[in-house]
C-alpha cells in the first residue's frame, strides 16, 4: 500500500500521433525502456523510473554528481534525438517526472492545443547551434609610447591603462562582430535565439564566447546554413557550428492561462 507510488513516469518528449511507429528497443534514463503513451492525437515518450532514484530528494543529490548527470543527460538526449528523427518533436526538460501514466494523459488533454501549435511551428525544421569565440588575450597591445614625463612609475601606470583600454576596445569590436554574425544567421533562419554565453568550464575553451546562438532552419536548407557559417568566419573570431539538433530552443509552450489544476488523477 505504502509502496504503491514507488515508481514514476519520466517524460522525454511529445509528438503528434502519426502512423510512424515509435522507435523500438530504445533505452532511456537509468537504462529504463522507452514506451509511448498515445492520447488525444499526441504521443508522449516515457519511461517508468524508480522514485528512489528519480524523486526530488535523491535527485537533489545525484544531480550534483556530474558523472551521473552527464549519463542521464545523454540518455535523455538520445531518446529525444531518436524520436525527433522521425517527426516534429517537442523535447521536455530533464527530470520531468509524473506520478503515473494517467497524469501524462491528463497533460496531453489539457495542453493539447499548445503542443499542436508548437509542433506545427517546428515541423520540417531543425535547430543549429553557432558559437563564436574571440581570444582577447591575443588582442594586439596598444601602442607603447616612450617614457614620458612623470618618470618610470607614471609610464608603467599609463601602459597599464592603455592595455586595459585596448582590451575594452577589443571586446567592443568582438561584441559588434557577434552582433553582425547573429544578424546574418537570423535573417537566414526561420527563428533564432541568443543564449547565455557558456562558461569556459563548460565550453572547454579558454577563449571568450561572444555568441551562443540557436537557429531554426528548414530541414532541407541545413547545408546552405553551414555554408553561410563558413562564409562568416574571419580572422580573430572562431565560429563553431553544432547540430542539427532537435528544436530544444524553439518549443516553449505558451504559459497556461490559469494555474494548472492539481490532482486530477
Amino acid at each position: 500500500m505504502i509502496t504503491v507510488n514507488d515508481k514514476g513516469t519520466y517524460l522525454y518528449a511529445v509528438t503528434l500521433d502519426t502512423d510512424l511507429a515509435c522507435p523500438e528497443g530504445l533505452a532511456g534514463v537509468a537504462g529504463a525502456e522507452v514506451r509511448a503513451i498515445r492520447h488525444a492525437g499526441l504521443v508522449a515518450y516515457v519511461s517508468t523510473v524508480p522514485l528512489e532514484q528519480f524523486g526530488a530528494e535523491p535527485l537533489r543529490e545525484s544531480m550534483e554528481d556530474l558523472d551521473w548527470l552527464g549519463e542521464t543527460a545523454r540518455a535523455h538526449h538520445r531518446v529525444v534525438e531518436a524520436v525527433a528523427e522521425g517527426k516534429p518533436t517537442a523535447p521536455v526538460r530533464l527530470v520531468t517526472v509524473y506520478s503515473d501514466d494517467e497524469q501524462i494523459r491528463g497533460l496531453l488533454s489539457r495542453r493539447h492545443d499548445d503542443f499542436v501549435e508548437v509542433l506545427s511551428r517546428i515541423a520540417d525544421r531543425q535547430e543549429w547551434g553557432v558559437k563564436a569565440y574571440v581570444d582577447l588575450a591575443s588582442a594586439p597591445p596598444s601602442e607603447e609610447r616612450a617614457t614620458g614625463a612623470g618618470g618610470p612609475g607614471a609610464a608603467y601606470l599609463r601602459r597599464r591603462q592603455e592595455s586595459i583600454r585596448g582590451r575594452e576596445e577589443a571586446w567592443r569590436q568582438a561584441a559588434a562582430r557577434a552582433e553582425r554574425i547573429h544578424d546574418a544567421l537570423s535573417s537566414f533562419a526561420i527563428a533564432s535565439r541568443r543564449h547565455r554565453a557558456q562558461d569556459p568550464q563548460l565550453s572547454g575553451r579558454k577563449e571568450l564566447m561572444i555568441l551562443n546562438g540557436a537557429y531554426l532552419v528548414e530541414h532541407d536548407r541545413g547545408e546552405e546554413f553551414t555554408r553561410l557559417v563558413e562564409e562568416l568566419r574571419g580572422p580573430g573570431v572562431d565560429l563553431e557550428i553544432t547540430g542539427p539538433w532537435a528544436p530544444y530552443s524553439f518549443t516553449d509552450l505558451a504559459d497556461p492561462a490559469e494555474p494548472e489544476v492539481l490532482g486530477d488523477g
Binding site: 522514485l51 526530488a56 554565453a197 562558461d199 563548460l202 518549443t251 497556461p256
Partner: protein, 128 residues
C-alpha cells in the same frame, strides 16, 4: 547521507566535457539544452527541474556563470585592482616606489657626478 562532501560536484576537467559514444555532440552542449531549454511543465507533476532549483545553483555556476559575454567583459574589469577599491593601496605603493626611484636616481646622479669629477681630475692635474 547528506554530508557536505556528497554535495560536491564531481567536476573533472577534460572528462566531463569530452564527447563519447554515438553522439558526436559535446556534453556541455547537451547539458545546456536538456537543463536550460525544452518544454517546462509546471503544476500537476511529481518532480520537475524547477523543484530542484536549489541544487542547480552549483550547476548554473558551470552552465551559465555569466549572463552575457558583456558581463564576462565586466568581470575582468571589476577584478582589475587598478580599477577597483584596491587601487588605493596600489597607488599608495606606486607613490612610495616612485619616491624611492627618485631617491635612487638622485643618488645615481651624485655617483655619476663624482665619477665624472674623478675622471676629469686624472688627465690634467693642474687643478690640484
Amino acid at each position: 547521507m547528506t554530508e557536505a562532501s556528497r554535495f560536491t560536484p564531481a567536476v573533472r576537467p577534460g572528462s566531463s566535457v569530452a564527447s563519447a559514444g554515438r553522439e558526436s555532440a559535446n556534453l556541455g552542449d547537451i547539458l545546456e539544452r536538456v537543463l536550460d531549454r525544452g518544454v517546462v511543465i509546471a503544476g500537476d507533476i511529481r518532480v520537475n527541474l524547477l523543484d530542484i532549483e536549489l541544487l542547480t545553483i552549483k550547476l548554473r555556476l558551470v552552465i551559465a556563470s555569466v549572463d552575457t559575454a558583456r558581463e564576462m567583459g565586466i568581470d575582468w574589469w571589476e577584478h582589475d585592482p587598478w580599477l577597483t577599491g584596491n587601487n588605493r593601496g596600489l597607488l599608495e605603493e606606486n607613490r612610495r616606489l616612485r619616491a624611492r626611484l627618485t631617491a635612487m636616481e638622485e643618488q645615481q646622479a651624485l655617483v655619476l657626478e663624482e665619477e665624472q669629477a674623478l675622471e676629469s681630475d686624472r688627465p690634467d692635474d693642474h687643478r690640484e
